[in-house]
């Protein structure tokens, strides 16, 4: 009886792929049969022990999971308030959380007999992870990347090429993640029969938002167990950065029904969330719309045209957000805030100096919010922040932003 009355936050999506009013399957007819067959295959795999056995084996021996939950001692002292833990997903093979999901999708693609994998990438972390796993399994890999991102994330472009992937610079639109996703969808609709589209975030048509969340939930599951082991209780606040929102959804999901846990998502505020829209804060500065297969909060003008976001972080530079986040925002289970480029850069530098960890610009946004709230909280307040990626890829961008001359690296 009690169980029947318990209204879980973890039951979504419904059979139409909706989280409340968000999500769905807004794709062209050509793709619809594929999406249905993907859903069917995923439903089978989800309850198949051999699927998870393969995942766990690779997570352990190839990715290096579990990632540590690290007590950031000096940062905590420096901020002078809440106790700050970092979930170290930047230590994963390929340097970010992205590979958690890629492994799941590639194993699924192999089960479906698909030989060609396509992906979109912003910062390049998802592209690198996809290229990596494709190399491991001997699959053809094509990565769509906005021309602007190709330029600002050159090291990752070279990594993908080393791993045997074909990187296609996308020049339509402003040449960022949104445009890369459009071109990946165009490729998919053209090569439906042999191609698997490996989406890097918790967005897109159903079942992607749920599937990517499930693969990324390993982050939150581990964090929960590790926090119990370290402190004997759940964290009080969990925080993660959000572009599309996959690392955040992965951390948040296992905690959704633990209502004592505050959940905070941090969007990219760019130059500031204002009427000029020079930011990527879909929830704080956008409204619901339909793009890339799902209904969710989007940056758009009054006429429903999609706006280009702006952020120093290529990985957050996306005008939408996963539909489950839109739902969590509307029902109030999670709180969403924004952090500007300048604040993220300050956090980046602080993390380097205080903890000897060079964070990616994406989690630097989450850290900047930790810097804001930790000093206001008591010493027994436990914060768990997802350090979802390492900053090696960002050193050129950061050097430029800080006015530092790198000179020639030849």
């Amino acid at each position: 009886m009690a169980e029947d009355l318990f209204n879980s936050f973890m039951n979504g999506p419904d059979e139409r792929g909706r989280f409340g009013d968000f999500g769905g399957r807004f794709v062209s007819e050509t793709l619809m049969p594929l999406i249905l067959s993907l859903e069917e295959e995923y439903e089978k795999a989800k309850t198949d022990d051999s699927f998870w056995a393969e995942m766990n084996d690779l997570w352990t021996h190839y990715v290096g999971r579990p990632s540590p939950l690290y007590y950031a001692d000096r940062l905590t002292q420096h901020l002078g308030g809440a106790k700050v833990y970092l979930k170290r997903d930047e230590l994963n093979h390929t340097g970010a959380h992205k590979i958690n999901n890629v492994l799941g999708q590639i194993i699924l693609a192999r089960r479906m007999g698909k030989k060609r994998i396509i992906a979109e990438t912003g910062a390049g972390q998802h592209g690198v992870a996809t290229a990596t796993v494709c190399a491991k399994f001997g699959l053809k890999c094509v990565v769509y990347m906005g021309a602007h991102d190709v330029e600002r994330q050159a090291p990752n472009v070279f990594r993908m090429r080393l791993l045997g992937a074909e990187v296609i610079p996308v020049t339509s639109g402003r040449g960022t993640l949104k445009d890369a996703m459009n071109d990946a969808l165009r490729d998919w609709v053209t090569n439906v029969r042999d191609t698997f589209y490996c989406i890097g975030t918790v967005a897109g048509p159903h079942p992607y938002p749920a599937m990517v969340r499930d693969f990324q939930s390993i982050i939150g599951k581990e964090a929960k167990e590790q926090m119990m082991a370290a402190e004997g209780r759940l964290p009080d606040t969990i925080i993660a950065a959000i572009g599309g929102g996959s690392n955040a959804m992965g951390l948040f999901f296992p905690f959704l029904d633990d209502t004592s846990v505050n959940i905070i998502g941090v969007e990219a505020g760019g130059k500031g969330v204002n009427e000029k829209m020079e930011h990527c804060a879909s929830l704080t500065g956008g409204r619901p719309g339909v793009l890339h297969g799902n209904r969710t909060y989007l940056l758009q003008d009054d006429d429903g045209q999609i706006l280009e976001g702006f952020s120093i972080s290529a990985g957050l530079d996306y005008p939408g957000i996963g539909p489950e986040h839109s739902w969590l925002h509307e029902i109030g289970r999670a709180k969403y805030v924004s952090i500007t480029d300048v604040e993220a850069l300050e956090a980046f530098e602080l993390c380097c100096l205080q903890e000897g960890i060079i964070p990616a610009l994406e989690p630097s946004h989450a850290l900047a919010h930790v810097m804001k709230i930790a000093p206001t909280l008591p010493a027994d307040h436990l914060i768990c922040m997802n350090m979802c990626g390492r900053g090696d890829k960002d050193i050129f961008t950061v050097a430029k932003a800080l006015g530092f001359e790198m000179g020639e690296f030849a």
Partner: protein, 263 residues
């Protein structure tokens, strides 16, 4: 009976196939675009597909993407697109206009408000690429209730199991997409298309029109030979994009319609 139904009844009575053309509203500018649209019926166009510009046209190739971009750059909006249809209606009350595009600009306006405005502007049908049957309650069913046809795409991946669902709430005609892919990319092959059209016609009494990959009078004729009509979009839009004069664009359209009507 909508203008689309009346048009097909008329074509059937005359033993003719339909020629359908697509242009982007507001490309290269409002006045030129309206001049082209007004000239289409005399160039042999039976049904006009009017593109509603969108920033992220995921099913379109570069030709139509760029046309949408040009239209948006000169300030084209949903209101102006509807105004263009209304201006066309002032002098032509029989040629059907099908608004073709993506869902977000309509969703952003609000479906009920949009349907009233579209109907008032003289729009007869809608082709909204990113609304499959799974999302019928969003726009398809309200549109039919408002007296607009909702024209569904059927594709080479729509198998027999799925076809009834695709046909269920379709009206006006069925738009068969000749290739798996985006607009203006691969070439349609009448030998492949013929059996597919027959497969769809065995399940519906609606006319089946074929589009994607038709770019010459010969292709227009060949496809019209195996279907109830042919659609040409990118080839016309490319000429507009190249800055050709209206008379030249319409002369090209005439050769395409002659192709389809020669069957």
């Amino acid at each position: 009976m909508t203008r689309i139904d009346a048009k097909f009844a008329d074509l059937k009575a005359r033993g003719k196939k339909a020629f359908v053309s697509y242009v982007m509203a507001g490309d290269p500018d409002f006045d030129t675009s309206l001049e082209i649209v007004k000239g289409l019926p005399a160039a042999g166009v039976d049904i006009i597909e009017l593109g509603l510009p969108f920033t992220d046209p995921m099913a379109d190739g570069p030709t139509i993407q760029l046309a949408g971009q040009r239209a948006l750059d000169i300030g084209m909006t949903l209101d102006k697109t509807l105004a263009m249809a209304a201006a066309f209606r002032e002098t032509d009350d029989t040629t059907p206009i099908v608004l073709m595009g993506y869902y977000n600009p309509i969703y952003s306006r609000g479906v009920d408000k949009f349907l009233v405005q579209a109907k008032a502007a003289g729009i007869d049908g809608l082709i909204i690429v990113d609304l499959p049957p799974e999302e019928d309650d969003e726009l398809c069913i309200p549109a039919q209730a408002a007296g607009l046809n909702f024209i569904r795409l059927a594709t080479p991946t729509t198998d027999d199991k799925r076809l009834p669902r695709v046909l269920q709430n379709t009206s006006g005609f069925v738009y068969y997409v000749s290739v798996t892919g985006i607009t203006g990319a691969a070439e349609a092959d009448a030998d492949d298309v013929g059996p597919e059209v027959a497969r769809i016609k065995s399940r519906t009494d609606l006319p089946v029109i074929v589009g994607f990959g038709i770019n010459t009078p010969a292709k227009s004729r060949a496809i019209a030979g195996v279907a109830d009509g042919a659609v040409v979009g990118s080839a016309i839009v490319a000429m507009i994009g190249a800055g050709k004069p209206v008379s030249e664009v319409l002369a090209f359209v005439k050769t395409l319609s002659d192709g389809a009507h020669s069957i």
